[in-house]
Amino acid sequence: MTEPAERPAADETVPAGVQSPNGTGPVGDPPPLVTPPADTVPGEVVLRLTDVVKTFPGVRALDGVQLEVRAGEVHCLLGQNGAGKSTLIKVLSGAHQPDSGQVEWLGEPVSFGNPQAAMKAGIATIYQELDLVEDLSVAENAFLGHEPRQLGFVRRGYMARQTREILARLGHPEIPPRRMVRSLPSAGKQIVSMARALSHEARLIIMDEPSAVLAHDEVGNLFRIIRELTAQGIAVIYISHRMEEIREIGDRVTVLKDGRTTAANLPARSTPTRDLVSRMTGRTIEYVFPDRPAETPAAEKLLEVRELSREGEFADVSLTVHAGEIVGIAGLVGSGRSELLETIFGARRASTGTVSMAGRQVRPGSVGAAVRAGMGMAPEERKSQALLLGEPIYRNVTLATFTRWARLGFTDAGRERAEANEVADRLELRPLDVRRPVRTLSGGNQQKVVVGRWLLGGTKLLLLDEPTRGVDVGARAELYQVIRALAARGVGVLLVSSEVPEVLGLADRVLVMREGRVVHEAPAGELDEDTVLDLVMAGSLMEGAPA
């Protein structure tokens, strides 16, 4: 697969003379970045799965999956949380071995014993969970496992150059290849994951919810790259819960439900959403936002934030949330929204400014005080910030509230399970058994657990940071209903989301943040997507706006 071809790169941003090194042994003169697969005819089937089964003890994650992917196409995988999408791609990438069924790659039956084998065969994967090493540099992460080397020494300069080229191609020439990945925002990390996939000579690139952590403009950039790849005959498997993305970039769609293929090779652009959703869920769900109450009564002020600042993060933010009101914050990734939320919640200490709940100032820098004042927060990163992965679901759901049911310091496990069960029902958690460890849930269901935590007990104000990231269509609608219902009961909600339609659709009032400052505030009804995007996009990920 190493024969260099003469085909010019499809995009001008790709500088000539770059290659994807194969990691072993010294590398010669660099050929073009992605070697077009010489023996692949566009449209030819490169990958075919027949009746693939993968069981985890007690769960059939894959239960007879059929899939057919052609060279040069973007093949979308759709399915609810837990349908088996991630498991499927792990089988493809050699991270899991199927129990039965056949995988045909380039016409040959194959079985990948480990990720290395799949990579060698030309399958590169961007996993759903960021799979980077925080203390390695961008370049080292991109080339992890197949570093260009000479006698065991890493060819650092060469590797940095390669990485810079790939990053440039990805539209992010400003990310320094030698910067520690630890210091990148999550969007930057996603770019590095993509760079890693592109550093291989891949004929199939699998992307598991790559857009979940990307801001709006970044998604556009991602699509540009995908188009460029497919133009070279590379196949892409694309997983996302966002229907509009699938419409925009997808060619064909395969739908999974409960580990089975329920529909294969539907045309991505023309299949009606209702059809897709009903194949995913077995029922029809309107992908809409709940109605706003006709007239917001002049409710009491619940949260009042005055001139809150944190050095280097955000400055002079003032906002109020009334009881029963949903306030959305729109902004680019890195605009300081998460920090703002965490500061309001007491998880960070403000440099100046005050936070009050129901007229009483909340002790700064104390999460406990915030919780006692009636706040609850669903943080952005579920794994590192929210979940006890090894603990059962119910204990995760009741993490913030178990003391309420305790007597004299003794916990009441029965009560906790009952409460958690109720939440699980409301959020359609799958599977429903609340004694399972959270780690065995699919990504979207884990997110439901995080949100569910604050549906218990006397939360008066909910701070939600990207609450629907990785959540499927059905559950998303469900979550919207839950949030709205909470508001109707008088709970105030402060919502951060990178999906502008979500902010506009769900919130009553919208604040737009840029570079740590609120630049605009208006009732949601008075804004449309384009206006918000204009306000928001005054710069790019790493550079910020020209001052």
Binding site: T55, F56, P57, G58, V59, R60, A61, S86, K90, A95, H96, D99, Y127, Q128, E129, F345, A347, V367, G368, A370, V371, R372, M377, P379, S384, Q385, A386, L387, L388, L389, G390, E391, P392, I393, R395, L399, A400, F402, T403, A406, G409, F410, T411, A413, P431, D433, V434, R435, R436, P437, R439, T440, L441, R453
Partner: protein, 376 residues
Amino acid sequence: MTERTETAAPAGAAPPADRPSPVSPAPAGAPVHKGAGTPGNGTGRWSGDAGESFRRNLGLVGVLVVLIVIGIVTRPDLYSDMNWVGDNIMSILTLASVVGVVTVGMTFVIIGGGIDLSVGAIVALAGVWSTTVATQSYGAGGMIFTAVVVAVCVGLVNGFLISYGRLVPFIATLAMLVAARGLAAEISDKQTQVSNNATINGIASNDVLGIPVLVFILAGVVAAGWVLLNRTTFGRRTVAVGGNPEAARLAGINVRRHSMLLYALSGLCCGIAAIMLTAQANSAQAAMANLYELDAIAAAIIGGTLLSGGRGTIVGSLLGVIIFATITNLFAINGLSTEAQNMVKGGIIVAAVLVQQFRFKSLTQLLARNKLRSTN
């Protein structure tokens, strides 16, 4: 470690997917590394809280049985005398009692994401302080009070340095180890201080219903530790703080205060252990309880506590301690030389852990196969 997962999901209770998620921090197929890769990382837990740890502990009991059988086989003469056997069991439990108490505290600290290298030093300091002439003049009550207060205070200092001074637990407690032994040597003037208090000494020499008082104390501490860990908010917080401190913090738990308390709790256990050890030795000395930290940590880990925090059981730790005591006893009754003893001991430790794993592995496979068959 995927293999030791979900074995006997209690008869159809849960429809469990019992596998450690491949995206879990201790991933399938990755070597059991960084102390995290505990066996049985998987699951089974939703078959009831204690599912997996129960099976682990069963494995440890199996190891214990094997050790006893070896004892019987190698010294049939001794084991044929039932009186001797009863005595021997008590002697093993007594040997385990002091380290056992320390291990309970250590288990809490480790589950809470920390480590306490200073336990042996705290025992020595508390023991020495409670046997100074001045303290002894206050009688047994004064001695016990002193030991406990000294030990808890040292624990609080540890906790304070770690929680609020933000020192790495390893370094903070290592520094405390050195300092506390130094202070103990200073106080005792490097002498072995004899305890003349009959009540204290009686703790080690008296029986109740044929069971030594020391064993009762161990049982009491273990029971209290079990309740504290499994039935109280304190225990729940401990697991949360150790499992994911950031999540605990964002759920409103005062992580700093809690981890400080954990070290104080470990100190408390050391104080109790100091009295027990002083009673046993009728004396205290700056070098006493040497390397108890290693014994306690090893027992906790063998018992299934994750060195990286967030998981562990009191019963497992107790079994770990008893296994170590039984090994020592086995060597003693066989009159092995210390060198041979050490070589064999290393082997036994490895074997014990491997045996457990093997058990799980094969059982898991068996069950998985059965399940598959019944599903197909």
